[in-house]
């Protein structure tokens, strides 16, 4: 027990490197809050355990699956424009559904409708491999989601969720990630809670995880009942977070505590 640890941990905060933007305006990536050792794990694609998932995703891309006898590559070339900026754009409005779609939901829609293949479970190795591989193709590019036109009500809903107090601890996302970014809560250093590195390899998880997994953990930590993976609440929140990180480079797969 005892006092909150406030010691310096030797983290190296840098605004940008040759290809990456870690700080823009008043917004900072979680990378800038990590120790230099943790940054080193992220930056080395052998040391970064999530790169196994990049390999797996690349293999899945050309794997034929489902009744239609197709793979993703049958319609989407590996060097397509879609893949190069997909990590900067999601979640995206789907006119047919009349709401936002996360990348996971889009992948499953394509699998079912175009490939006749079974959907992937949200936190499965296959889904993580696909989303990590796809978002990694946009690594270095600035986060740039649309918050205009049909997405406006969903963006507003995400923003409202972010500012809303919840749980037994009666706290909102903003209480930690806006009011106290840079302060410590017990031994953890609070970041801005940016999403630009997700799915992220968290040292705590010892594996990569989706941002919805992180949302569920955060909600449980303030003793609130978490929403489901792929719930409207979390997809809307995902859009708001992506907007909060506008201009920061996609870092997928990032490494964080």
């Amino acid at each position: 027990m005892g006092a909150v640890v406030v010691g310096l941990s030797g983290f190296a905060s840098i605004a940008s490197s040759a290809e990456m933007t870690y700080k823009v305006g008043d917004r900072s990536s979680g990378y800038t809050y990590a120790t230099k050792e943790t940054q080193g794990i992220q930056d080395d694609d052998i040391a970064n355990p999530a790169y196994v998932y990049v390999d797996d995703g690349e293999a899945l891309w050309s794997k034929v699956d489902g009744k239609a006898g197709k793979s993703c590559a049958s319609c989407h070339a590996v060097d397509s424009a879609m893949l190069s900026d997909v990590g900067t754009r999601y979640p995206v409005y789907n006119a047919k559904l009349g709401k936002l779609q996360s990348l996971e939901q889009k992948i499953n829609q394509e699998r079912e409708e175009k490939m006749g293949a079974k959907p992937y479970k949200w936190e499965s190795g296959s889904m993580l491999a696909m989303t990590i591989y796809m978002r990694n193709q946009s690594k270095g590019k600035p986060m740039n989601v649309s918050i205009d036109g049909p997405v406006i009500p969903f963006f507003e809903a995400g923003k409202k969720f972010y500012d809303q107090k919840r749980g037994q601890l009666d706290m909102s996302c903003a209480n930690c990630h806006v009011d106290n970014a840079g302060n410590r809560i017990r031994a953890n250093l609070l970041t801005e809670g940016q999403s630009n590195g997700f799915p992220t390899y968290r040292l705590k998880w010892q594996k990569p995880g989706s941002i919805h997994r992180r949302f569920r953990g955060c909600n449980k930590q303030v003793r609130a009942t978490p929403y489901g993976y792929g719930s409207d609440e979390y997809v809307n929140l995902e859009l708001y977070l992506a907007w909060r990180g506008r201009g920061l480079s996609v870092e997928t797969p990032a490494v964080r505590n």
């Binding site: 794990i41 080395d44 694609d45 052998i46 040391a47 355990p49 790169y51 196994v52 390999d55 797996d56 010892q206 594996k207």
Partner: protein, 107 residues
């Protein structure tokens, strides 16, 4: 077989000392954790040996204990002798082996 990734330079000069980086996906279950629901001990299952062969002999070897982190990363150095394969072997408790080979080109 577990998934492993290895990085070595594409080509090296004879006598050059070069760095090799390796990673294997593995939980490295320590044997100290308990199943939260049943209270039963989760049995130990780690990679306990990592060996690198080059030029027909072991150039680097290691014994691992449960204190080695999950998804073990090891980087080490090798002196370039002749072109040929460099073989990596990870051995798990119980004997299962994961192998990977890269070709080292020496000019």
């Amino acid at each position: 077989m577990a998934k492993a990734r290895v990085k070595a330079p594409k080509s090296v000069k004879k006598g050059e000392v070069f760095e090799v980086k390796t990673l294997i996906s593995h939980k490295m279950e320590t044997g100290l954790r308990k199943n939260k629901k049943t209270g039963k001990k989760i049995p130990r299952k780690i990679i306990n040996k990592f060996s690198v062969t080059y030029g027909g002999k072991e150039v680097f070897g290691s014994d691992w204990h449960p204190a080695v982190s999950a998804n073990p990363y090891v980087s080490f150095f090798v002196k370039a002798s002749a072109s040929g394969p460099m073989k990596f072997q990870w051995t798990e408790d119980g004997g299962a082996v994961t192998e990977k080979t890269v070709n080292i080109k020496v000019t």
